[in-house]
Structure formats: C-alpha cells, structure tokens
Symmetry: C2
Subunit: 314 residues, 2 copies
C-alpha cells in the first residue's frame, strides 16, 4: 500500500490510474485494474449510451472496489453519458477535452468525485475554479488526444505543482515503477497510464494494434492533427495522408474529410494498421510485453520500490 | 558528495553538468560551476578559435577542478577547436550535432574523456561504437539544438538505459533537485542543465534574455527550424517570421536567408528580443530567479535530498 492524496481520495491501494481510452478500456480492463489495487477507468468516448450503461453495470459486478468513467466533454449527446454515470452511482468521473465548468457541479452534487484532464496552466486553474477534486496533467508524450502547448511531463508537472493545490495525477510517458517514481519526484500524487494497459490481456485493443505498439521505436509516433484536435498516433499510411494534406495547406474541413469517420475504431479495435488511427504514447518505444492487468500493477509496484532503494544508495 | 558512474568518470562531487551553450557559457560560468562541485562546460560553438583558447586558459586559472569544452561537430574549421582543446590539455570534451566517429578516437588518443550528445537510439549506439566514455540523452524539452524525433526526457532515458552500457547523462527539463532525482529514477547517472545556468550571475547571457527566460510561460517556446537544424527557442517576432515562411512552404535556402546570420548572438548576447534567436528549454516556464552558480548547485543538492526523503515516506 502506498498512501498519497490520490489513494486517499479514490480509496485505492496504489496511486496507479488506468487511463480511460477509446476502444481499449471497457469493463474487463477497468475491473481488472481496480481488483489489482489501482483505479480502473472505462473509456466512454467510443461507446453509445446503452453500451456505456452495460459496461458500467458489468464493471460494478466484477469489482467491489472503486472505478471510474472517462467522459470526453466533446462527446455528442453528452447528457446521456452524464445521466448514465449518475443513475449507476459511478463513484468517480474523469472529464477531458472540454470546459470543466459545465458538468463538474452537477456531478459533484450527486456525490461523484470529479477529475479533469489538462495539458496547460490555464485549464488547470479553470478546473480548480470549477471545483474538481483532482487534476490529470498530461504531457506531450502521452498518446491519443492532447494539448497544443507541447509541454512535456518533465516540465508540466513541477510547473503545475507550484500553481495548484488539488491533487495532481501525472500522465504521459508513465508505464513502469521507475517512471512512476520519477513522476512522484516531480510532485505527482498519482500516475495515469494508458499505453501500458493497452498492452494488457484485458484491454479490448485488437491484437494487430497491440503488436504495432510492441514494434514501435523512437520517433514512430507523432502529435498531429493540430488543426482539428491534436492527437498522438503511430505514423502509418493514414498519418502520411493527413500530414501531406496538412503540409499542402488543406483547410480544416478538407482535413476532416480526409480523416473521415471511424478511423480510431478501424485502427485500434479492428486492427487495420494502414487506414486506422493508432493512438498510443511515445513510451511505446520501449514497451515490449502483453500481460494481465494484475501482473502489470504488481510489476510496477515492485519496480517502484526497487528503484527507490537504488536511489537511496546515492 | 553523490557517487555515480558520472562523478567517478569526471572526478566531480555532484553529478551536475552545466551545458555548454553558445553565447552564455564562457570561462566565468564554467569555472564557477566546477568550483561548486559540478562540471562546468565552455560552449565553443559561438567562439572564434583564439577566443576559445583564451577562455580555456582563463578557466584553468580559475579552477583546480575538472571542466570541459563543448564542440558542435558542425563548427566550421573544427580542426582549430580540436587543436585548442588538445594543446591546452582540456580533460573532458562534449561533442554534439554531428557524427561521433570522426573525432572521438583522436581526442581519446590524447587522453581526453569524450562525451557525445544524442537524441535517439541510432546515434546513441553510433556513439558507443565510436568509443565515447558517456552519452548525453537530450529530450524534446531541451533548449537550443535538438533532434527530429521529438522523444521526451521521460521516454528517451529509460529507453536508452535498456540499450546502452556507457554512463548516461540526462538533458532536457532538468534544473532542480526534483528533476535531477526524477532523471536518476529513470536511469541517468548524471544530469546536464542549460536553462538553469543561463539564469546565473556568471552566465554571459544578456540581461534582456535572462528576463525573457524568467517571463516565459508554458507554451512560450517551440522546437522549430526543423528543415535547417531543429532548435527550441522562445516564440518572438523572429520565430513568427520563420514559422510563417515554413507554413508558406519556403524551401531550405529561403529559410536560411530569412534567418540570416548572427541571430543567436543578437538575441542571447546582445539582448534583441525581437530579431534575435532566444534558445532556451521548456523549463523556462517555471524558472524564476538569477543566482550565483554556487547557490544554484547548493540549492539543487538540498532539493534532491529533501525530495528523496519525501519519497521515502510513501
């Protein structure tokens, strides 16, 4: 057991949060992480309202521990998702990609712990003003949707730590005990890991996508699509198409048309490595193994203590 | 005293290396850092051969401790710089921005410890094969010249640690004891800090530039000029001019003409904040104070131990 402001807030054993990810984190992964001492998070961004409802119901059956739902605030018909988490008494909600002042109060009025994901100081302060219970600070190296400022985990964390008072969860580049310890050195009260849990038995990522993550080397991901919504993905045929259009000064509407619909599902869930969007963090450069969520959490904790012991030798 | 493979290699008290920086790190700063227990580095990239010679001679008089010279391998008439460090028996040379296989052997034949700066695995392995004694791994957040892969300190360090055997120095995002501890959690044997020492009494940076660094917020620097040579700088009028040209698909020669000559000197040494190149790391978002090199080193070490004690409470 590791006691921090985050483990106390979420009533969990370890300050390890599994990121809510589109197409990769349903109830199987979320409940497995919560059963292993971390906080599992259902990624609702890729779910229709009835699908989210069914995942929440199954997750509650599969774990007695706290879990959360991540709701991207740009989700169409977001009211349905908000209703689903309130109706099912989901204990914790992570909101992202939008204005934290719109839903925080309503969720908190229903006794829900609210966490907002940010990538800069402006939104960290906005979140705090909106009354969130904690903030996820997401660095440039993180996979999937991200901010425009390009601030890395190494710089963003100590910076926000000086400016905000609510508990701080680090995201971006974290997937081992060493990186967890580093994030906590920089002031994090907990860590959020996405890419590491994509490579779990319980993640719903397609095996082709998992293998692409294992094969990724340094320089193989890029934060792109900054004109539509910045996202870090593996450079593939789809990436080249978008990047060429961007370099040829296509406007936002053109880019949206080239991107088309359903690219994330096609890539991460259906395993189309050429035409699909493969959202993953830079840490994919050294992630190598698919394991159970429990083995991942246990390994991280062991590595955390081993590394701390090593640092104490200096 | 902190004992690591780097302090043993360089025979220094603390594993803190002051980055060799154009226009900012002459003999005054290098000797002050070496006298404070770290390793001071003269940045030769902005010096004519006779100027470098004079800085080396003065540095040797000002400190009994080891110091180093950083030589960018793209420097015109590099033979002169190589001759200068050999003739003056400079104990340690950092090479950067070029192929490590060209000069490493000659320098080592003269008993000089050689360190090469890299930002990806390919050049880390190349450096090791060339026989360097240590490697600086520079993350995306670092100021000044950098690589194209955009790998951040948080991801690059643990990745290289698994692949190389020579001692590893972390650079990019480091300027406090907390960040030093984080880098060592990730596998670094030592840390290199540039931006922090720009804000020292002994740095030769213009006071306008120092104030611009203090005033920089998150998102105020950008890694740009990727077509000529990638460099992280503060976004100012010059940056806008270059960025607009880039977005309008100007070719490399056009970009070189727009950039012109002497921009780094104009910005960092002469203090022209509009037309000069202001090279600094992302960490400028929270650096706030100008101090003596000795106070900087002492403060970092104190912060390192305080943070380690705090981590031990978990």
């Amino acid at each position: 057991m590791i006691k921090t402001r985050i483990t106390e807030l979420f009533k969990i054993k370890y300050p390890i949060i599994q990121a809510g990810m589109v197409w990769c984190s349903g109830w199987e992964l979320a409940s497995a992480v919560s059963n292993s001492g971390g906080l599992g998070v259902i990624g609702s961004g890729s779910m229709y309202p009835d699908v989210l409802d069914s995942h929440v119901v199954k997750c509650k059956k599969a774990t007695k521990n706290n879990f959360a739902v991540n709701i991207p605030l740009l989700y169409p018909n977001i009211e349905n998702h908000i209703d689903t988490v309130i109706r099912n008494k989901v204990p914790i909600v992570f909101t992202s990609a939008g204005n934290p002042s719109i839903w925080t109060k309503k969720l908190k009025n229903h006794g829900i712990i609210v966490v907002h994901v940010v990538s800069n100081l402006k939104f960290a302060l906005k979140s705090q003003e909106a009354g969130v219970d904690a903030i996820v600070a997401e660095g440039f190296e993180a996979g999937g949707h991200n901010g425009l400022n390009e601030s890395t985990t190494f710089c963003l964390l100590p910076f926000l730590k000086k400016k905000i008072s609510v508990p701080l969860i680090a995201a971006g580049g974290i997937g081992t005990g060493k990186t967890m310890l580093a994030a906590m050195s920089l002031g994090a009260d907990g860590v959020q890991m996405g890419s590491r849990f994509v490579l779990s038995n319980e993640s719903s990522a397609h095996i082709n996508f998992k293998n692409a993550v294992i094969n990724a080397k340094d320089g193989d991901t890029s934060l792109t699509l900054k004109e539509i919504t910045p996202v870090r993905m593996i450079k593939n045929k789809l990436y080249d198409k978008i990047h060429n259009a961007y370099m040829n000064k296509k406007d936002t509407e053109d880019l949206k048309n080239i991107l088309g619909k359903g690219r994330a599902k096609k890539g991460m869930f259906e395993g189309d490595l050429d035409e699909g969007e493969l959202e993953i963090g830079q840490i994919s450069m050294y992630l190598q193994s698919i394991k159970s969520a429990k083995d991942i959490v246990d390994e991280i904790i062991q590595d955390f203590y081993n590394t701390r012991n090593k640092l104490n030798e200096y």
